[in-house]
Structures are given as structure tokens and as C-alpha cells.
């Protein structure tokens, strides 16, 4: 499978990237790890006359861990898995990253590519919505931040403008228990259903819960109502059932080769129940 011909650019700074984007407009695409874009180019589902490889751009590979955690766009899933400080502070990232694709893909696949691509199957977008992350975008008019919960419009459609580059994600260090639960048909597959959950507790009572889902609509879905159903409860069976029902009311899965809608709703319910139960056990 040979992609259509293209021009390859490997700028060394963001100014160089932005100037190429403004020069070539729609004809240019930035590439991080390339493990979503290159397969699409090979299948000729993506036409990229100008490919801008970000690998040499300075300043995109850092992980800063503090009260606020900042992860550069070119940080790979393997980097996340290996980072002990990040794992201590936000263990849900490692748990999710280990469930993405396979070892080879995790060496190349990046956080920036995963969140910016807008593929509903990607795992990081739902996770970032659970963590209430902010995405930093740089464009010709400077830098701006967009909340992950407002970033996704439809499949492959995001708030990011054509001349902007997503440079980092940041979020407050999460507290309490966590779980990223994913059902997939096989290693390397996207989720049939997946869910990210963070919960805090005081005594035996849940004080807050954040629940987001992957690949169950044409965007990731943050379910405010599901979190609200758990907050203030003792996370007993009734509260979990209410939270799952609220979450399922917020999704709109479509039938595909992973199954019909009824099956996906069923799997989503199972995954949500497991994720909530596991996050609570760790809270």
C-alpha cells in the first residue's frame, strides 16, 4: 500500500510549523507519531500534499508533574507508562495507556496525536474529559486553551483550527480512586466500550465522581449526570445503577463491526459498573 505522493517537512521549531501551515492551508497536516495518519494515507483515505513531521520540534516532549500536570503533545504512550512520577500522581494515565494498541504502537503513538485527531475510538480524549483537562493550542494568533470537555464536535471534527497545533494537555493532579476500563475484541482494537472514572470519598460517602466514555458516540462523552448520581451516595448498588443509567442516557452508539446498538449499550453498562466499582475500591 503506497500513499499518494507528498512533500515532507521536518521543521525544528513551532514558528516553522506555523509558517508551513499558513503557507499550505488545507494541504498541510502535522504528524506526531503517525500511527493514525499513515494508515489513513496508505488507504488513501487521507490526502496530505504537505506532511509536517513534528519529531524535531523543540519543547513538545516534556512531562511536568506538580499540582498541575502538563504533558507535551509528543509524549508517547510508552513514555507515560514508564514515568514513575506521573504514575504516582495520576495513575489513571498509565492504566489507560497500557490498554492502547500494542507495544510497538505505544512507542510511537503520542498524547497529542491521540487527543487532537478526533477519532472517537481514541482513548485519551475520554480520559482527558474525565480529568477536566485543558488543551493548549498554538496558532498564528498566539496561544489559547480549550477545555477537553468542549473540544470535540463530531468524529474527526474538533475546536482546533486548521492553522493551529495542539502542543500540550494539562490538568489538576487527580485525587482519590481511579479506573480506566476498556472492552475490546482483541489487542490493538479500539474499544467496544470504555470508561474513565475518578472518585473521591470522605468516610464512606462519595464526595465527587467524574465519568467519561470512549467510542460510544461520535465524540467522547463526559456524563455530568452520572457523576452527580454517585456524589453524596455510599456507592451502593442502587447508586451505581443510577449512575450507569444516567451515563447510558448520554451516549448514542452506532452499529458497526463491533456489534449492534443494543449490544454496545449492554457492554457500556458492564464497563461502567466495573470502572465505578474499581475506582471506588481505590478511593
Amino acid at each position: 500500500m503506497i500513499p499518494a505522493a507528498f512533500d515532507y517537512h521536518r521543521p525544528t521549531d513551532m514558528a516553522g510549523v506555523l509558517s508551513l501551515l499558513s503557507e499550505h492551508g488545507d494541504d498541510a497536516r502535522v504528524m506526531a507519531g503517525g500511527h493514525s495518519l499513515i494508515p489513513l494515507m496508505k488507504l488513501r483515505m487521507a490526502d496530505v500534499p504537505h506532511l509536517i513531521d513534528l519529531q524535531d520540534v523543540e519543547g513538545l516532549s516534556g512531562i511536568d508533574v506538580g499540582e498541575t500536570i502538563r504533558i507535551g503533545a509528543m509524549v508517547t504512550q510508552a513514555d507515560i507508562i514508564d514515568h514513575t512520577g506521573l504514575t504516582a500522581s495520576a495513575p489513571i494515565l498509565r492504566e489507560a495507556a497500557l490498554q492502547i494498541a500494542d507495544p510497538q504502537v505505544r512507542y510511537m503513538g503520542t498524547v497529542g496525536g491521540n487527543v487532537a485527531n478526533g477519532d472517537p475510538g481514541n482513548d485519551m480524549p475520554g480520559l482527558m474529559q474525565c480529568l477536566d483537562a485543558q488543551f493548549t493550542l498554538v496558532g498564528p494568533d498566539g496561544e489559547r486553551t480549550v477545555p477537553a470537555r468542549d473540544f470535540y464536535e463530531a468524529a474527526y471534527m474538533t475546536e482546533r483550527g486548521d492553522e493551529e497545533v495542539l502542543t500540550s494537555v494539562s490538568f489538576a493532579a487527580p485525587k482519590g480512586g481511579y479506573a480506566y476500563e476498556k472492552q475490546k475484541r482483541k489487542i490493538g482494537d479500539y474499544a467496544t466500550a470504555a470508561s474513565a472514572v475518578q472518585m473521591t470519598k470522605d468516610g464512606g460517602t462519595c464526595t465527587s465522581a467524574s465519568i467519561a466514555m470512549t467510542n460510544l458516540s461520535d465524540t467522547p462523552i463526559f456524563s455530568e449526570n452520572a457523576g452527580a448520581a454517585l456524589a453524596g451516595s455510599t456507592v451502593d448498588e442502587t447508586a451505581i445503577k443510577a449512575a450507569v443509567a444516567a451515563a447510558l442516557a448520554d451516549i448514542d452508539p452506532t452499529e458497526d463491526n463491533r456489534g449492534p446498538v443494543a449490544f454496545k449499550m449492554h457492554v457500556a453498562g458492564v464497563i461502567l459498573t466495573r470502572a465505578i466499582t474499581r475506582a471506588w475500591s481505590r478511593a
Binding site: 500500500m1 512533500d7 500511527h35 499513515i38 494498541a101 507495544p103 510497538q104 512507542y107 490493538g188
Partner: protein, 176 residues
């Protein structure tokens, strides 16, 4: 459009320089331009792992990287791991433990396993299975592959402890 670009790779210790279109995938560069045919083309969709090579310390599916992306980097293929006269411990273990049947997945499998053992010299069976999850085998059912990798780990660890003096000597020389 798309002028050829000057690409420079180090493959198994040998520097290679050539002109190629940016769309040339690394697996084609290796197999057809450089005649390094150990890495295989299996699915060509980044699932099967038959094309796995090591690039700057990462296991990479070379069907999902353009050669131009790898320009300036150091690549190791199965050809760089052992020779017919001096097999790599993994190759020896695959031979000994029947870790291959048709052999199609084997170069990618061993190249991946070599990187896995470098990162984790004492893997459990579960570590091995998780670590080779990006390499598909349609013959063995994986059982003997896992057995081979665990056996190679044991051999390599035994060799490392018996020759630790020699390794220490090499490190001193490298430091000098």
C-alpha cells in the same frame, strides 16, 4: 511534486545513504532498496508485527513509518541480531524450543523479543505475552514462542552473570 529527498540511515551498523520519495515506507526501503529481507510484509496495516525493527531503542512496525522519518536514526533488524554461525540466544532458543513453524512471524517476533528482554531481563510469562502482543503468529498458538523467550532470558541472564567480569572490562574500555 514530491522531490526525492536525501535520506541517511544506519542499518545494522552500516551507514546507508540514498535518494527516495517521501512516501517510501521503511519496510520497502529495507527489503527492496537495501535487500534486507528479514523484516517481512505481513498485514501492512500495523497489526501483525512481521515488519518489526528496532529504531533508536524502540520496537517499530516499519510498514507504518516513512523512510524519511527514520533519516538520521539507527535501525536494527533480525540480520543485526545474530549470524548463522553465532545465533543470538533468542534464535537459539526458538530453534531449541520449536518457537516457529512456518517462520513468517519469526524475524519480527525475535526482534521485538530482543527489545523486550533488554527492557525487562527477567520477565514473567505474563510480561512476555503482554510484551509480544503486537506480533501475530498463526501457527504456534504462541505457547512455544513464550517458552523460547523465557528460555532465552534464562540463558542470557546466566551468560551475563558468568561473564560479568568481561562486561565490566568492556564498560571500562567504553568509558575510556
Amino acid at each position: 511534486m514530491a522531490d526525492k529527498m536525501h535520506i541517511k540511515l544506519t542499518v545494522n551498523g552500516t551507514e546507508e545513504e540514498f535518494l527516495a520519495e517521501p512516501r517510501e515506507l521503511l519496510i520497502y526501503t529495507l527489503r527492496e532498496r537495501l535487500n534486507i529481507t528479514g523484516p517481512h510484509i505481513g498485514c501492512e496495516t500495523s497489526h501483525c508485527g512481521a515488519c518489526t525493527v528496532t529504531i533508536d531503542g524502540k520496537s517499530v512496525k516499519s510498514c507504518t513509518m516513512f523512510a524519511v522519518q527514520a533519516s538520521g536514526k539507527d535501525i536494527t533488524t533480525i540480520e543485526g541480531l545474530g549470524t548463522p554461525d553465532a545465533l543470538h540466544p533468542l534464535q537459539e532458543a526458538f530453534k531449541e524450543h520449536h518457537g516457529l513453524q512456518c517462520g513468517y512471524c519469526t524475524p519480527g517476533m525475535i526482534t521485538r523479543a530482543a527489545k523486550l528482554l533488554e527492557e525487562n531481563p527477567n520477565p514473567t510469562e505474563e510480561d512476555v505475552r503482554f510484551g509480544i502482543a503486537g506480533n501475530l503468529c498463526r501457527c504456534t498458538g504462541y505457547q512455544n514462542i513464550v517458552k523460547s523467550i523465557l528460555a532465552a532470558a534464562a540463558t542470557m541472564n546466566a551468560d551475563a552473570s558468568s561473564s560479568s567480569d568481561a562486561i565490566g572490562q568492556t564498560k571500562v574500555e567504553a568509558a575510556e
